[in-house]
Point group: C2
DNA sequence: GTTCTATCTGAACGGACGCTCAGATACATT
DNA sequence: AATGTATCTGAGCGTCCGTTCAGATAGAAC
């Protein structure tokens, strides 16, 4: 009873985060115990503390990894020629990126209040940065007379809220294909910012 | 140490629900203890069980009361002449009703997974009923050639998601008045469903 | 003024929680 | 083959959890 067969830091670490991710998403951070996470990995609770200083840091790590990947993946897109094309690209990216990560998205929204104040500030800054990139598109389109929004900040939030709605109800294999959903939302988004 | 001065069932009951509402909204159902709720009311934990069989029922009561009031208040609105007017009425109602109840809204959305299966089913049915009333408006407008949406069900969800976004960021006394916000959202909603 | 009852206290129940740590063991290094 | 180290176990710490309940008291009923 000690070190187990085939135990490795670079295997157990990711498995712990994966288990925590899944459990936090399903039951909520506060409702999940370290023992439950350990059981999912097939390990004793004490072993988790080789990989995280505490439960709170485990949550922060999950959220931060997600937000950083969101930002860096979006940054790698090829720049669009026009604001309209940039907006289309944003809509497509946002839907697809989040659709592939339902658990991360859920946690990033629901568990913000369980972050320590400093951690919360950091995560919010990243989120703001992402939102700002959408607002920049709307501002550019507004200046070029392509878009007509009363308030770019509100329009930004409204568009993101609308897109986030997809994730809450879309299920692969349902009535509509992802392409179809993307098309419908693109139509509605474009209309909502166009006179 | 027993019955306290001025203690009454019809006073303590609402105070308990009010305290639970506030605490659940701020920290989450799972993160709030019965002792915390009791302390907020100024009573011992055991006293709570004169008003709720258990913690779970307390949550359900809060959510159900909220949903029922949403539905009944909406039902009392004077019928609109046209789908466009009905949509405007819905947007206005939705924003204002929810803006006045931030805690209830937050709980109704975040704590669904903490309901027992039967309770969950009931709450979902009420929510669906409310959404259906919006879809009915969109369908009517679609048939009359006033709206042009690819899919009324998706448009329904998209509009509600967009409107719900307001509640997450709007703060009274901020840059914009509630009237202004309502106007901006009404513009965007109407555009998003119009060719 | 006495009795009755609704309401609350205070203590306790078994169990779960986050977290720590000495010791055991598998694997890496030589 | 021997040694060193990374990894995990198992036990346990103090604390909190939801819930129960006998007993005490305030206000209602008479």
């Amino acid at each position: 009873m000690a070190r187990t067969q085939g135990s490795h830091s670079d295997i157990t670490g990711p498995r712990i985060r994966k288990a925590a991710l899944s459990l936090f998403a399903r039951h909520g951070y506060a409702a999940v115990s370290m023992r439950q996470i350990a059981a999912e990995v097939g390990v004793q609770a004490g072993a988790l503390y080789n990989y995280t200083p505490d439960k709170q840091s485990l949550l922060y790590r999950l959220m931060n990894d997600h937000m950083q990947e969101l930002l860096s993946t979006y940054a790698k897109l090829t720049p669009a020629d026009s604001p309209v094309e940039a907006l289309r690209q944003f809509v497509s990216f946002h839907i697809r990126f989040h659709m592939e990560r339902p658990d991360e998205v859920f946690i990033a929204y629901m568990e913000l209040r369980n972050l320590s104040p400093e951690n919360f500030t950091e995560i919010e800054a990243v989120r703001r940065k992402y939102e700002d990139s959408l607002e920049a598109i709307l501002k550019a389109g507004q200046q070029q007379g392509l878009f007509t929004v009363a308030d770019t900040k509100i329009a930004t939030l409204a568009v993101i809220a609308m897109l986030n709605g997809v994730i809450t109800w879309y299920r692969a294999g349902g009535r509509l294909s992802l392409d179809a959903v993307e098309q419908i939302y693109w139509d509605m988004v474009l209309r909502s910012v166009t006179a």
